[in-house]
């Protein structure tokens, strides 16, 4: 069968089943008369319904036509990593019984303003199709999609049993849209609004939750800025006893937090409001007691303005904490150290670089189980204030935390030797994202490029899935990456490389590469076209401010009709340069909603 043959192509093996629907007629269930399965469809479906993992489901769907059909009928959740790789009609035709959808839109660099406004990724066409195909849709998780208030209203009013909405890095809506959700979704279990480009018109949306709503489990409005009515919030919390995740915004005071926690001691994840208050109405010991009564707490975030004055109130809860997000608290090393002494079980820690290298020493000393560390710069554009963290802090952490798997580290100086040490100490890295903030900066001691640093990472860490490089890098870095990183799926490159060879090394190696995003590198058409046979096995390629031209892109588009090769027109320039290129595989053909500045070749 054609389907089976396709599965033999090694490049296509890992492709998500949804993305490879093209050759299989999704609507027609024409069975062979000779059945390959000895038991009825219903049994097969029942068995397959227990499989959750997308990868497993993709594999299942490739076994034979019966299994393909059983899989598609039993699937409840579909994950679409690139909303333009497939159309809503195709999805609806293939999977008739979906209850939960995860949809991702814009390229990741849109988070850093590299994608112009009105680029696309509008969720509405999806909702229109889903209203007919999946009237019983329960969950929708969107990332980097354009979402309007009208869409939110449409969602709230067309899906009766709708339960869970998560919006991450989306834009285009306002709190009015949230009002619609709160008002109409009678069975709401989750409202998770996180870091979106949205209009915050006030906190009145919270008042729209009806008195009858008692099913809420997740409420996150930490990144909204307007004040909500505390009275409404308190009432909401007190009647929703299943609430396990509550993340409030900065406007909620310590006094108010105290009251909320008294109503919701069952919380497992808490995002506090501001942690500074001139005078609190209850004694500090009361707050401490309240925290100690929250026996299920495993995650704490928020903590804006926290200082050593009130931070100790969370100490009783720290013993069970697995995730502590201090990335909004400008703590210094001493405060952090005192806090971490109580956090022996910590697995994930997010910090601001105000803690300095000394703070990171404390991390290494007190958190032996740490698996994930993210250190953000408090002041990325202004160096006058604070040097932040250096290579020495990173090394300290690696010495005390050998189980580190995920690191995101922003710093202003780094050395090859330090990274080599870190790699030796932590060979289990799966995600290594190092950002030396000055573009193209070499090893500050030896003045050499940072090639050997990343070389040591890819050589020493066989499980590396995601890598972000920075600093001054020649093609050698990419030679190492292409040669050694067998499991690499995502690579981010900026201000690096010397010639086309760099990109060619990566495209020639890295068998599992799915996402490649490049900016400001001297890679041209030769490099772009060297990946001709590879792009269909990847989700997407982004190249901006490189040396690629329109001609190169046209060649790529011509050779590979199943890729969308999109060029974003630049304001200046002579038109022959391809300033921003976004290439992705698709079964949906060229975009029909592309704005004028996006050219599909």
């Amino acid at each position: 069968m054609k389907l089976l043959q396709q599965s033999m192509d090694p490049n296509q093996k890992r492709a998500k089943a949804v993305d490879r629907v093209d050759s299989v007629d999704t609507g027609v269930a024409s069975f062979d008369s000779t059945r390959m399965c000895p038991f009825p469809d219903e049994v097969l479906e029942r068995v397959l319904s227990l499989i959750d993992s997308h990868k497993d489901r993709s594999s299942v769907s490739l076994v034979c036509k019966d299994w393909y059909n059983a899989e598609r009928w039993s699937r409840r959740h579909v994950f679409i990593g690139n909303c333009y790789s497939v159309s809503p009609e195709i999805v609806a035709a293939r999977f008739p019984r979906i209850r939960s959808v995860t949809l991702k839109g814009k390229p990741r660099f849109s988070d850093f303003n590299l994608v112009p406004e009105y680029w696309g990724a509008d969720v509405h066409p999806w909702l229109s199709v889903f209203a007919t195909a999946y009237p019983f849709l329960e969950e929708l998780r969107l990332k980097r999609m354009a979402v309007s208030d009208e869409s939110l209203e449409f969602l709230a009013t067309n899906f009766q049993g709708f339960k869970a909405l998560s919006l991450l890095s989306c834009d285009g809506f306002s709190t009015d849209g949230l009002k619609a959700i709160a008002t109409h979704c009678k069975n709401l279990t989750e409202l998770d609004i996180h870091e979106n480009g949205m209009d915050d018109l006030g906190g009145h949306w919270l008042n729209c939750f009806p008195e009858s709503l008692t099913t809420l489990q997740v409420l996150n409005f930490a990144s909204l800025n307007s004040e909500v009515s505390f009275e409404s919030l308190e009432k909401l919390i007190s009647r929703n006893k299943s609430l396990r995740v509550l993340k409030v915004n900065r406007n909620i005071s310590l006094d108010q937090l105290q009251k909320l926690l008294l109503q919701a001691p069952q919380l497992s994840e808490l995002g506090t409001g501001t942690f500074m208050q001139e005078l609190i109405s209850c004694p500090i010991t009361d707050l401490k007691t309240t925290f100690s009564n929250c026996k299920n707490l495993v995650t704490i975030s928020g903590l804006w303005d926290a200082t050593s004055l009130y931070l100790p109130v969370i100490y009783p809860a720290c013993v069970n904490l697995t995730f502590l997000n201090l990335s909004y608290a400008t703590l210094r090393s001493g405060e952090l150290s005192n806090l971490l002494q109580h956090c022996k079980s910590l697995r994930r820690l997010w910090l601001l670089d105000t803690v300095g290298d000394k703070g990171l020493e404390a991390v290494g000393a007190h958190c032996p189980l740490l698996e994930e560390l993210r250190v953000f710069p408090a002041d990325p554009f202004d160096q006058e204030v604070f040097l932040g963290v250096t290579e020495s802090g990173f090394v300290s952490v690696s010495e005390g935390c050998p189980k580190l798997r995920y690191v995101l580290y922003f710093c202003r100086q780094m050395t090859n030797a330090a990274v080599a040490t870190i790699a030796r100490n932590c060979p289990d890295f799966t995600h290594f994202r190092l950002c030396i903030m000055n573009p193209g900066q070499p090893d500050y001691l030896t003045k050499q490029p940072m090639d050997e640093a990343f070389g040591s990472i890819v050589k020493t860490c066989p499980n590396l899935q995601r890598l972000a490089v920075s600093g001054q890098l020649t093609d050698r870095t990419f030679e190492y990456i292409g040669k050694y990183s067998k499991k690499l799926e995502t690579l981010s490159v900026a201000f690096a490389g010397s010639s086309d060879l760099g990109m060619e090394y990566v495209l020639g190696g890295c068998p599992k590469l799915r996402k490649l995003e490049i900016r400001d590198c001297p890679f041209g058409n030769g490099a772009l076209l060297s990946g001709l046979t590879k792009y269909e096995s990847m989700r997407s390629l982004w190249m901006s401010a490189c040396n690629v031209t329109m001609n190169g892109c046209k060649v790529l588009a011509k050779e590979r009709p199943r890729l969308n090769v999109e060029v974003m027109k630049d304001e200046g320039g002579d038109g022959s340069e391809a300033h921003k290129v976004y290439v992705y595989r698709t079964v949906a053909g060229p975009r029909r909603d592309a704005p004028p500045f996006v050219l599909t070749l």
Partner: protein, 258 residues
């Protein structure tokens, strides 16, 4: 500073534009007379003006084999330019670099409480209003100045970076002092109606807003563009409008404490 100056805002509107001006407030104060000129320049053109006070470099000195073509396309988006006048090399801001989401910018310097809900500065441009500026988290350093009001013994402090117009400042002043003023007037212990403090800017109200500038002079609020005001103001005062004539008449002798 006012939104027109903020590099973050301008970049978000015009992602292609390059801002070569390092992000220091001192820079604007030095060029006292040229505010309009500079503001106009920073809004209109980035890096294309005749006065290139900053030296463009090709990038870090050790990078090999950058063809001229690549340089051209790179400068469009990003060229790190060390500013030698600073102690440490501070590269000029580059679009989208470092790769930090807007929500995380300037956490160290944003003020502790968000601005009053009616004046929420943290509003992002909607699909309907392209011209409105995007501000995620408050991305300016807090700029607090003292403000006193005649007849109120306790002063307040106001963060001028939270506002971008005189009108908003005037509203804020009303909010800050309305209650205090009412409390002062209420000697009998009765709850007196709080009266709004209006007409601060045009002389029509009972009170007028004045300020002391960086040269020590007492000035009426409202004459100069907002950003110029913010760069020169040292403290504010709310005085009775009737007092203004007294100040003008007897000023040389009377030392009125600001």
């Amino acid at each position: 500073m006012e939104s027109g100056y903020s590099r973050v805002d301008v970049q978000e509107i015009h992602p292609q534009l390059l801002d070569l001006i390092p992000k220091e407030r001192n820079w604007f104060v030095k060029r006292g007379d040229d505010h309009d000129h500079i503001e106009g320049r920073s809004r209109r053109s980035h890096g294309n003006g005749d006065e290139n006070t900053l030296e463009l470099r090709l990038g870090p000195p050790c990078v090999e084999d950058w063809s001229p073509r690549s340089y051209k396309s790179v400068t469009k988006a990003s060229v790190p330019v060390p500013n030698t006048s600073q102690k440490r090399s501070a590269p000029a801001p580059v679009v989208g670099w470092p790769p930090i989401r807007s929500f995380r910018k300037n956490i160290a310097t944003s003020s502790s409480k968000a601005a009053p809900p009616s004046d929420s500065e943290n509003v992002v441009v909607s699909d309907n209003d392209v011209k409105r500026e995007k501000k995620m988290e408050s991305c300016q350093k807090g700029f607090f100045v003292k403000i006193n009001m005649n007849g109120v013994p306790i002063g307040r402090k106001v963060d001028l970076n939270a506002y971008d117009s005189y009108q908003k400042l005037s509203t804020a002043v009303d909010e800050l002092f309305r209650g205090l003023l009412a409390a002062q007037k209420d000697t009998s212990g009765n709850q007196e109606q709080e009266k709004a403090i209006t007409g601060l800017l045009d002389g029509s109200g009972e009170y007028t807003l004045v300020y002391e500038d960086n040269e020590g002079d007492r000035m009426l609020v409202g004459d100069v563009p907002w950003h110029m005001f913010v760069s020169t103001v040292k403290r504010l005062r709310v005085i009775k409008s009737s007092e203004i004539s007294n100040i003008c008449l007897g000023s040389k002798q009377a030392k009125i404490q600001l």
